[in-house]
C-alpha cells in the first residue's frame, strides 16, 4: 500500500472519529427551546444528520457507530449527560439505533444541492430514524405501532426544523471546504 493510500485510509477513520466527537460535543449544548414546538430541541441529532450529509453513507454510519460505542463504554455523552449500557434499553433507545439507518440514508441520497439535501435529511433523519425508533418503542413499552407513532409525534416538529438546518449547514460546509467530498 502506498503512502498516499495509507494517508487516505487513516484520514477516513480520523474523520469518522472527529465527527463522532462532534456529535458528542453537540450533545453538551443545552437544549434550545423553540417557540410553538412542545419539546426543546437538542443539537445532537443535528450532528448525526451532518455526519451522513458531509461524510457520505459509509463513513457517516461509522461516525454514528463510533459515537454510540463511546456511549456504550460508559462516557456520559448522550444529550442530558447520559451514558452506559442502560441507555440502550429504554423505550426511546430505538431512536439511537435509528441514527445509524438515518446517517446511511442521508449519505446515500445526499447531493450537492440544497433542495436534495433537505429531502435527504428529511427521509434519513426523520423517516429512517422513526422506522427503527417507533417499532422499538412499541415493542419495549407494549404499545401498538400507531400509539407509539402518535407518542413520537411530539418530536416531529423539532426534527423537521433540524433536518432543514442540517441541510443548510451541510451545503455551506460543502461550499466552504470542497475537499470534503473526496
Amino acid at each position: 500500500m502506498s503512502l498516499i493510500d495509507q494517508t487516505l485510509n487513516v484520514k477516513g477513520l480520523v474523520r469518522c472519529a472527529m465527527f463522532a466527537a462532534l456529535i458528542a460535543a453537540l450533545g453538551l449544548l443545552p437544549p434550545i427551546p423553540v417557540p410553538v414546538i412542545p419539546v426543546p430541541i437538542t443539537a445532537q441529532t443535528l450532528g448525526v444528520m451532518l455526519a451522513g450529509a458531509v461524510l457520505g453513507p459509509k463513513r457517516g454510519v461509522l461516525a454514528v457507530i463510533i459515537f454510540l460505542g463511546v456511549v456504550l463504554l460508559g462516557f456520559p455523552l448522550l444529550s442530558g449527560g447520559r451514558g452506559g449500557l442502560g441507555v440502550f434499553f429504554g423505550p426511546s433507545a430505538g431512536f439511537l439505533f435509528g441514527w445509524i439507518a438515518g446517517a446511511y440514508v442521508i449519505g446515500l441520497l445526499g447531493a450537492s444541492s440544497l433542495p436534495r439535501l433537505i429531502i435527504a435529511c428529511g427521509l434519513g433523519g426523520i423517516v429512517a430514524v422513526y422506522l427503527v425508533g417507533v417499532p422499538w418503542m412499541a415493542a419495549v413499552s407494549d404499545m401498538s405501532l400507531s400509539q407509539a407513532l402518535l407518542t413520537s409525534m411530539v418530536f416531529l416538529p423539532g426534527d423537521a426544523v433540524k433536518a432543514i438546518l442540517a441541510a443548510i449547514t451541510a451545503r455551506a460546509i460543502q461550499r466552504g471546504y470542497p475537499a470534503i467530498m473526496t
Binding site: L13, I66, G84, F89
Partner: protein
C-alpha cells in the same frame, strides 16, 4: 472531562470478566422481557437492588440513573393503566426499570478499559466486512480524546462571531467549526501516518 461511569470496588461483580457480564446482561434482558409474572419481576427487581448494594454502589447513584427516565416511565405507566389495566402497566414499568438499573450496574462495575477490550473482541466477527478490531478500538479512544478539542474549536467559532458582532446563536458557527475540524483531521492523519499508524 469526566471519565465514564466506572465506580471502583472489590465486589464479586467487579471481579467478573466483562464478556461474562455482558452475556449475563443479554440473557437477563431476554428473560425480563419474556416474563409477565409480576411476582417474578418483583423478585428480579429486588435481587438487582441487592446486587447494587453488594457492588458498593450508593442510592444517589441509583437515582441518577433512573431520574432521567422518571417522566417517561410514569407516562408509560399511566398510558398502559388506561389501555391494558394495572398489571400490564406494572409489568412494563418493572421490566423497564429493572433492565435500565441492571445495565447501569454492569457499567458501574466494569472498567472502561475492560469494556473497550470486550467490545474489541465482540467486533472481531465483523473483520470480514473490512473492519479491523484494533482500528475500531483506536477510533473509540480517539473520539473520546477529541471531544474537548471539538468543544474548544466550537467555543472559538462562537467567540469569533461575537467579535464580529454577529450574535450568540451557535448554529451559524457550526459551519466554520466543522470546516476547521476537517482541516485539523487532515493534519492529524498525516501526523499519524508519519508515526507508522495504518501500516499493514
Amino acid at each position: 472531562m469526566s471519565v465514564g461511569v466506572y465506580h471502583p470496588g472489590q465486589s464479586p461483580l467487579h471481579r467478573l470478566g466483562p464478556g461474562t457480564k455482558l452475556l449475563m446482561l443479554a440473557a437477563f434482558a431476554v428473560a425480563v422481557s419474556l416474563t409477565d409474572n409480576i411476582a417474578l419481576l418483583l423478585a428480579i427487581g429486588v435481587s438487582v437492588l441487592v446486587a447494587w448494594n453488594i457492588a458498593g454502589l450508593t442510592w444517589p447513584q441509583l437515582r441518577q440513573n433512573v431520574q432521567p427516565l422518571t417522566w417517561m416511565l410514569l407516562a408509560l405507566f399511566g398510558f398502559q393503566f388506561v389501555v391494558a389495566g394495572f398489571f400490564s402497566a406494572l409489568d412494563t414499568l418493572l421490566s423497564l426499570a429493572t433492565l435500565v438499573i441492571a445495565a447501569a450496574l454492569i457499567s458501574h462495575t466494569t472498567r472502561t478499559d475492560d469494556m473497550l477490550e470486550a467490545l474489541t473482541i465482540g467486533l472481531c466477527p465483523f473483520t470480514r466486512f473490512g473492519l479491523k478490531a484494533e482500528d475500531a478500538a483506536f477510533a473509540l479512544v480517539f473520539a473520546v480524546r477529541l471531544v474537548p478539542f471539538v468543544s474548544a474549536v466550537g467555543r472559538e467559532a462562537i467567540e469569533a462571531r461575537l467579535a464580529r458582532g454577529a450574535g450568540r446563536n451557535p448554529l451559524p458557527a457550526l459551519v466554520p467549526m466543522v470546516i476547521r475540524l476537517m482541516r485539523e483531521t487532515d493534519t492529524l492523519s498525516e501526523a499519524l501516518v508519519a508515526r507508522g499508524f495504518g501500516r499493514s
